[in-house]
């Protein structure tokens, strides 16, 4: 059986890619995709721990299903915001928006 560490390293790897993506991507859609990566990294961890720590009722798996559902909802909201911002400023590049300044 594949040891637990492999899963954890995969999760951490995905998480780092996601963070890097969020921080460096200019395109807002790219940022949203990166956020999905971060969430999925967490999901991998949840499922892996569930298996290896031997919780019998599959709590981790249920939890990751919840995360997937909520992530879907969150990305809907995120996309709506992206569209709204795009309509307003004719740009999908995050560094061209500084609305959150005094």
């Amino acid at each position: 059986m594949i040891p637990l560490n492999y899963f954890l390293i995969l999760g951490a790897f995905l998480f780092c890619i996601g963070i890097l993506g969020v921080l460096t991507r200019r395109n807002v859609v790219g940022i949203l995709i990166s956020i999905e990566l971060i969430l999925n990294a967490a999901n991998i961890n949840l499922v892996a721990f569930n298996k290896y720590l031997g919780t019998p009722d599959g709590l981790g798996q249920i939890f990751s299903l919840f995360v997937i559902a909520i992530a879907a909802a969150a990305s809907v909201v995120g996309l709506v915001l992206v569209i709204a911002i795009y309509r307003n400023g004719k740009s999908v590049y995050a560094d061209q928006y500084n609305l959150m300044k005094w």
Binding site: I19, V22, L23, T24, I31, A94, D95, Y97, N98, L99, M100, K101, W102
Partner: protein, 619 residues
């Protein structure tokens, strides 16, 4: 029917309310409102007088306030002294209001004037009727306020506004003493009622307190009655309308100081030092003001100095134990000095100048004013049988009997000077040839009728204290026990006072009338330094300016600078530091989401590293 006394101040107060609220609509009717209110007060005063003669006395109106076990009531004080004051104030006040109808005609603030006058009447009558110190103090400030408002009535003129301020501030100094005196007296005796003063028994523990209280209360009286060294405001107060000068600054309000001393006389007689202080201050004021009056050329200011001088004489009389003498002079003085001021007002109304050197020969053109002026002058100069003679005679007699040679001398000298400057005034104003082209004419009826009525009083009111009426006044207003029989064997004094009065008038005649045998100019040249000293009012104003006013202003300037530089500096400094800090920190807020997130991630990494480091080092 004494129990209507509390209504006396009410009517003028209602007139005040009506005039101040509906003055615009009342227009010239506001004068009628005021005069009517004062007349009602006059009638009520007469009723109260009748009641007092029938043996009724003070009564309680109601409870005012209670603090712990001290309760203060609205009491109405009806006794000989207060009824005398009531009559004086209402008679003189009503006449002056009638006079004002003519004098103030055409003034843009006509109804405002009558509102103030009515408020003054209400306060003054309240002051007279109050039976405890607290109420007296309230009304005391009320008359002070009205005085200020009326002196500065023509506030467009800077001099008038300044004079009002000066009067207010100067009397305020005295009033502060008065208030402290009330506190001290309450501390010593636990009472604020005048009626309790008469059976005060000084014990060694509170004796100094009572003395100090008496002196502090006298401070208040000094301020109001313009006694030295607080006399400086009264001559300047002549900037107000002349009718106001007559009512407030000659007949009634300035006499309130004398009234206060008389009212609290029991306090003063406890210690001979207090009485002597009163007498000495009175003597100094009397002589000082009389000398200043001899050189002044402003018709109203001469009368103002004369007022200070006469108030000084009253104080002198009171201080030497002449309770009756002082109050009697207060009464007669109110009539003839009001008359003199109104005459002066009538003259000013006609010729539009106050400089007596420019007047002259007005008698043929202004018969009524002229003749009443002469009556007033004779009354003030102490020529028998006019009012001033009898009352001044009483004071001289008291001074003589007291054995204070210096004060007696001061009183005699003051009487002489009084006769001199008053004679000088009428010789320069009424007689001789006109010295400049002045459009003199007689004043309207509303002004001359009060003059005639007042002249009647000025001529005959003194008889109340003469042998002709068996010294009715002395049997009515007295302190302690009633004087028994005819103790006024004062023929010598009468002769003396008549002689010095006539001497003063003759000297003035020689100087200003009799073909200029002695020229005033040469006298002036002979006594040049003295003349200059008198003309400059003993430099008292200048001394106050240098010693009090300027240091005060310096202090104010310093405070203002301190406030601007240090206090404001601190506040502004804090604000500036904040601005600098925020300006430095502001670039952090870029408005870019990814920057924020980066910082957040870095923070989390830092946090994790810290925790990891701790764990590593511990184990």
């Amino acid at each position: 029917m004494v129990s209507v006394a509390h209504l006396i101040p009410l009517f003028p107060f209602l007139a005040f309310a009506a005039n101040i609220l509906f003055g615009r609509r009342l227009k010239s009717a506001s004068a009628i409102v005021s005069v009517l209110a004062s007349s009602i007060s006059l009638v009520l005063s007469l009723i109260v007088f009748k009641g007092l003669l029938d043996g009724e006395c003070s009564y309680l109106l109601g409870k005012w306030l209670t603090i712990n076990d001290v309760s203060i009531n609205f009491g109405v004080n009806v006794d000989a002294l207060s009824v005398m004051m009531l009559l004086v104030v209402t008679i003189v006040g009503t006449l002056i209001e009638v006079y004002s109808i003519g004098y103030m005609r055409g003034d843009p603030r006509y109804s405002r004037y009558f509102a103030y006058i009515s408020l003054f009447m209400a306060s003054m009558l309240g002051l007279v009727l109050a039976d405890n110190f607290l109420m007296v103090y309230i009304f005391w400030e009320g008359v002070g306020l009205c005085s200020y408002l009326l002196i500065a009535f023509w506030f467009e003129r800077p001099a008038a506004a300044k004079a009002g301020l000066k009067a207010f501030v100067t009397t305020r100094i005295g009033d502060t003493g008065f208030l402290l005196g009330i506190f001290l007296l309450f501390l010593a005796t636990k009472t604020l009622y005048f009626s309790d003063l008469s059976h005060l028994v000084p014990v060694p523990q509170n004796e100094w307190m009572l003395t100090a209280a008496a002196l502090l209360i006298f401070c208040g009286a000094m301020g109001k009655s313009a006694q030295f060294p607080l006399h400086v405001w009264l001559p300047d107060a002549m900037e107000g309308p002349t009718a106001v000068s007559a009512l407030i600054h000659a007949a009634t309000m300035v006499a309130a100081g004398v009234y206060l001393v008389a009212r609290t006389y029991s306090l003063f007689v406890l210690n001979s030092f207090c009485l002597e202080t009163v007498a000495v201050i009175g003597g100094i004021s009397a002589l000082m003001a009389a000398t200043m009056a001899t050189v002044n050329n402003d018709i109203k200011r001469v009368l103002a100095y004369s007022t200070i001088s006469q108030l000084g004489l009253m104080m002198l009389g009171l201080g030497l134990g002449g309770y009756t003498a002082g109050t009697f002079h207060l009464m007669t003085h109110a009539f003839f000095k009001a008359l003199l001021f109104l005459c002066a007002g009538s003259v000013i109304h006609a010729v539009h100048t106050q400089d007596i050197q420019k007047m002259g020969g007005l008698l043929p053109k202004m018969k009524v004013t002229g003749i009443t002026f002469i009556i007033g002058t004779l009354a003030l100069a102490g020529v028998p049988p006019f009012a001033g003679f009898w009352s001044k005679d009483e004071i001289l007699l008291k001074a003589f009997q007291s054995g204070h040679v210096v004060l007696f001398g001061v009183a005699v000298l003051t009487s002489f000077l009084t006769a001199f400057y008053m004679a000088r005034l009428i010789f320069l104003v009424l007689f001789g040839k006109p010295r400049s082209d002045l459009p003199a004419h007689e004043s309207p009826k509303t002004m001359t009728v009060p003059l005639m009525v007042l002249a009647f009083f000025a001529a005959f009111v003194g008889l109340l204290g003469s042998p002709a009426t068996h010294h009715a006044f002395q049997g009515f207003v007295y302190f302690g026990v009633a004087p028994e029989g005819e103790t006024h064997a004062s023929n010598g004094i009468m002769l003396l006072s008549t002689a010095i009065g006539l001497l003063g008038i003759s000297l003035a005649y020689l100087l200003y009338m009799a073909g200029h045998k002695i020229l005033p100019v040469s006298v002036r040249a002979r006594f040049a330094p003295l003349y200059r000293l008198l003309l400059n009012k003993y430099y008292v104003d200048e001394i106050y300016e240098a010693v009090l006013v300027r240091p005060c202003l310096k202090l104010c300037e310093f405070s203002s600078t301190f406030d601007r530089l240090v206090v404001d500096g601190l506040v502004n400094g804090v604000a500036q530091v904040m601005q600098w800090v925020s300006a430095t920190l502001r670039p952090i807020q870029t408005g870019m989401v990814q920057n924020y997130l980066l910082i957040q991630v870095l923070g989390v990494i830092l946090f994790i590293l810290t925790v990891a480091g701790k764990i590593c080092f511990r184990f």
